[in-house]
Symmetry: C2
Subunit: 546 residues, 2 copies
């Protein structure tokens, strides 16, 4: 099943595709310029709000001012002379810049509705207070009633948590035996999982702001607490600092929200919401007020009692000292706008975050709490948490794939040992095309893996590439993983010799590869495996190994 | 002119006055409950917005959700069945709780207009970006063109800056000779002055958010720079830290704004706006989003590169480390809601801030950055910056007067030397009645002085009280200062042996007393002396001596 694509051919195809779409849009646009802005009934409005929130707000924002996607306020669309038909064409076909095509997901009616909705002023979204969060809070199994030691003999540090997105569930699999251990009902569209510092608990965050806590020591792992902290969220993490003065292991959790734009500190044992802090703020550069300055990613420090969050639209990275939550100390580091995702370097000193609409990675030193570099990597970097390895020529490097082009860019991330290479792109590895969401490797692995999940081409979006980290100069091997769905996200087992990959489809699959040979070892299927997306190994997630 | 009032008699008069007003309001209210909410023409709306902003927003908030005054949103007024006539009665007569009477300041037409305006939803106030601030910025005399040493032989550290509120001017007086040195055109309603660390510059802040910088070394002191940083402001201060690593003397300034709710860092030499940080945040207690969380007061640290600001409606005190303004470090200390004004203890370690709608002073340790006490002092404490002295029985104390009662309360503020008295009210000194805005003393002074500026009684609002700090158990001496206007604010000269007091009236006065004898030494008049309010001695302001 090993297939090699020529990247230049693919890029050419993509360009042709784009220019055809754009020409069509311009013709349609000229013909329909005069069309009026249509009214919606209350029922239509409610439906449109739901569709927009679920599928559009992530990239364009609840207030539509743009972030990973462009500004699509009614005012802006009008200025560009984008009417119903132009907007419909965009929604249906997507763009080469990373906008997915919704032509197969949405009905023609829905697309019409969304196009009309976008031409009206964005409705004011509601606030959400601590009292409302506490009302939603359910402590299902109190601490005292939880097991004192694991109730099973499984190697739970090698468990995998699999997000079953559209089912609103998380599956727990045994990474040693590949058995399904449990399917936990977490609710709407889980975005990610993070492990508590001890690894015992998985915290999940749904795109609707609901967080769930799963106890892996239970005979059949299940959720022990849940709490809704906002209407729209993407990030959650745990307190990972083991210090002299106090041990924060599993003591606290944090959720980063999109709407309302804030972060919430929760009790790490119960998910009880404790404290809310607004991230509505001024942009770092023009110092304009940004009512929708959202938290896109959180990185938990291991060496300090700190969470690192980004404030996406404002271009700030905040280091939040959680040692005293009644007196939070927040260092607000100016970086670059439209921050999205990122992770640690191998030593866990340097925070590396994508400002993807600026085609940059920004680097913040977690010790000095200052930005030390910005790296132009390519068209819309989307690293996930990135991948760290020891490059044979350049020493320790970190890499990111890109939404906008088929490129893994790696930069030196060891300013002490390899100062010449530090924060410079030293490797460029061509992949099959844009739409890459994740790159992954492991300290004990041989390969670096990359996906193409959002590529508009069916073959490419279902293909992976992998290259040897000891021979990164060699062309990567690329192959199609499945003939359906989209292939997304790679995760190693604890030992670092197997790679798990998801086939994101209504009837999904998990494909497990041998990292050394790139050979398929196992293919997991089952009626429970509905729309698998992210999947998280306990040990690698708790230790931030990537 | 020394007159003694009996406090109990005055309190009784006040009670009768209040109950008469309230009864009248209830009768009127019952009669007019059915009255409709009237519409305003655009011209009326514009006028009402101006009136409200200038005279009401300070206490009730631009969004009318309340702070020092109660919530007066249209929704809230309707719930209370307050219609046009009830509202008019409140505006005309004021209340005993600190609401001034506007019957003599506003025309009947204006009062009608305001009452109608308040029954409509508050208009959305505009934002204000750094670009707009920079547009307003005028560097009138660049640093290179300023004198290298004082161009006069006056003892400029004993200069007084006198706010001429309604004239939009600041007068500079020579504290040694009492001569008028200069009248500087600063613009609309200056609220306060603060000195730069060196004392050379006065920074003023207008209630319209315009800051002005006056160079006292010029032959005729004049403004050298100005910048508008918001639409509504109350506080400004300078960088006062002289550290090992860097000297911040006169390097930076900060303005705290009411609307938009933010603070702005400016260049201390030029007033160039550099950075804007939002204070819109969640309340410390219920963690509800507060869109109008305003900066009411700023205290500049001498021992650290820090400004201490309060976030009034949210109940937080923020310690802002300004050593690196690209990476501001802000410690957000939970205290109590509706913070207003305050100052240092004598050692400049403890921040003492009034939460006046909670009848409390809150105490924050600037070293540990934690709240260490809350003190119930009386009905709506309003300390200004407070007064520090060595009490003969209780050791170092700090005191506040009250808006809601005729009381100076003093608490122990030396937890190391006098731990038993620390943060407990140890002295209560009765004054003539409520409406007190300021209390003042000086390390070299004999007396502690207090005003009654907002008292509804004509005699009381024009009277001062003073008591001996070495004999605080003795009844204070109280006397009427003038037979017109309101008497407000006391300030010592540099030597600490004279007290300057303002008679706040269209044709105002400055009255200078001997601190030892309480005898009037001098009375300054002049057609330039229009509505004098706050007055600031350079040395005492630069050193935070109070």
């Amino acid at each position: 099943m090993l297939v090699q694509y020529n990247r230049r051919v693919m890029a050419a195809i993509e360009k042709v595709f784009l220019s055809v779409v754009l020409s069509a849009l311009m013709i349609v646009g000229a013909a329909y310029k005069a069309q009026a802005n249509p009214d919606l009934t209350p029922e239509e409005l409610a439906k449109a709000k739901g569709l927009y929130f679920n599928r559009c707000a992530g990239c364009h924002g609840t207030l539509r001012k743009g972030a990973t996607g462009p500004n699509i306020t009614d005012v802006n669309l009008k200025q560009k002379n984008y009417d119903t038909n132009i907007i419909k064409a965009f929604v249906t076909n997507g763009t080469g810049g990373g906008m997915p095509s919704f032509g197969s997901d949405f009905s023609a009616e829905d697309i019409e509705l969304i196009a009309n909705f976008l031409q009206q002023a964005p409705p004011a979204p509601p606030e959400f207070s601590l009292a409302e969060m506490k009302e939603s809070w359910r402590l299902i199994v109190p601490e005292a009633q939880r097991p004192k030691k694991p109730e099973h003999n499984r190697n739970w540090q090698n468990f995998f948590g699999i997000v079953l997105r559209d089912a609103g569930k998380v599956a727990i699999l045994d990474g040693d035996t590949k058995e399904l251990v449990s399917v936990v009902d977490t609710g709407f569209a889980v975005h990610i999982l993070r492990s508590s510092a001890s690894g015992r608990y998985f915290y999940s965050i749904g795109r609707d702001g609901k967080s769930t806590m799963i106890d892996l020591w239970m005979a059949k792992p299940d959720k022990v607490a849940e709490a809704k902290t906002c209407f729209d969220a993407r990030s959650i993490d745990s307190s990972k600092y083991k210090g002299k003065k106090g041990n924060f292991e599993d003591k606290l959790a944090i959720v980063g929200c999109y709407w309302p734009p804030h972060f919430v500190v929760l009790d790490g044992q119960t998910l009880e919401p404790k404290k809310v802090v607004s991230t509505r703020s001024y942009s770092y550069d023009t110092n304009e007020y940004i009512p929708e300055a959202r938290v896109a990613a959180i990185i938990s420090a291991h060496k300090e009692p700190e969470w690192i969050i980004n404030v996406k639209e404002a271009g700030y990275i905040w280091a939040i000292d959680y040692s005293d939550i009644k007196n939070l100390k927040i260092t607000q580091v100016e970086t670059e706008r439209f921050l999205h995702d990122g992770g640690w370097d191998a030593t866990k000193r340097y925070i590396q975050m994508a400002a993807n609409m600026r085609n940059k990675m920004v680097i913040v030193d977690s010790v000095t709490k200052k930005q030390i570099a910005q790296i132009e990597t390519g068209n819309k970097p989307h690293p996930g948490r990135g991948a760290n390895w020891e490059d044979p020529e350049f020493g320790p490097v970190t890499a990111t794939p890109h939404l906008g082009e088929g490129l893994v860019a790696a930069w030196g991330s060891d300013p002490k040992g390899h100062p010449k290479n530090a924060w410079k792109v030293v490797r460029k590895v061509e992949t099959l095309g844009g739409g890459g969401l994740f790159v992954k490797t492991h300290p004990k692995a041989n390969h670096v893996w990359v996906d193409h999940t959002l590529n508009p081409d069916d073959k490419i979006k279902r293909s992976l590439c992998a290259f040897e980290k000891h021979h990164p100069e060699e062309k990567p091997q690329c192959w199609q993983v499945a003939d359906h769905g989209r292939v997304v996200h790679m995760e190693y087992n604890k030992a670092g010799n197997e790679v798990w990959v998801a086939v994101w489809d209504k009837v999904g699959e998990l494909v497990i590869y041998d990292d050394k040979t790139l050979k398929e070892k196992s293919r997991i299927k089952g009626d429970w495996l509905v729309t698998p997306t992210g999947h998280f190994n306990v040990y690698n997630t708790m230790t931030d190994t990537y």
